[in-house]
Symmetry: C2
Subunit: 97 residues, 2 copies
DNA sequence: ACTATATTTGCCAATATCTGTCAAGACAAT
DNA sequence: ATTGTCTTGACAGATATTGGCAAATATAGT
């Protein structure tokens, strides 16, 4: 499982001296969910990120980018053809813009 | 919806002079599924690709790569931060190898 | 070692998403 | 009008995701 996002969250949370339970409460989810998120065992829903960024006084865009990167990672991490597929996507995206 | 994969399938199928119904039968699914796949409205299951490549006398790796690229595209196509996220993933992947 | 608190883990129910089928409709060609 | 191909939408069953709970495990202080 991808964990860039989770690692960053833990970093930010501890820097703010927040306990899992405190962050969970503010996000209105169970403590175990945050625990799992920080260890990359679970994904957060996209809609929860703005609030999370707010709570952690972090940059929303940074977290959203990390979150999205984790989604992609989860999709391709075990794929031998990940590299080529990514290249293809990058190319296609550039054209579309 | 991503459609690179589907477009290629249609190309290959017509080149082989196969009807939707014929390809569907060989793949053991309903005709409507192939129709949707070719128009990018549905995704095929990864496990079906080897057989599909065989039926269409196509390169398995090529189809698998296109398929994976479509998965990624579906994930990021509406995301403003797609570019950055992709860059991040590409970088992470290279390190892991 | 004991207690208190924090975190992790496994399991469950609810919900959402995915996969395939079917039946009806659109479209050509004859 | 009939026939054959392809498309579309509704539906059911399977699968995956989400969040909550409770028990297990760490961690720290005494």
């Amino acid at each position: 499982m991808a964990k860039q996002f989770g690692e960053r969250i833990r970093e930010l949370r501890t820097k703010q001296n927040l306990l899992l339970r405190q962050l969970a409460s503010k996000l209105d989810v169970d403590t175990s969910i945050i625990s799992k998120v920080e260890r990359g065992e679970r994904q957060l829903k996209k809609e929860q990120i703005p609030l999370l960024a707010d709570i952690l006084k972090a940059d929303k865009t940074e977290l959203e980018t990390l979150w999205l990167a984790d989604q992609v990672m989860d999709l391709i991490k075990d794929e031998p053809l990940a590299d080529e597929a990514l290249k293809s996507v990058t190319k296609t995206i550039k054209k579309t813009k």
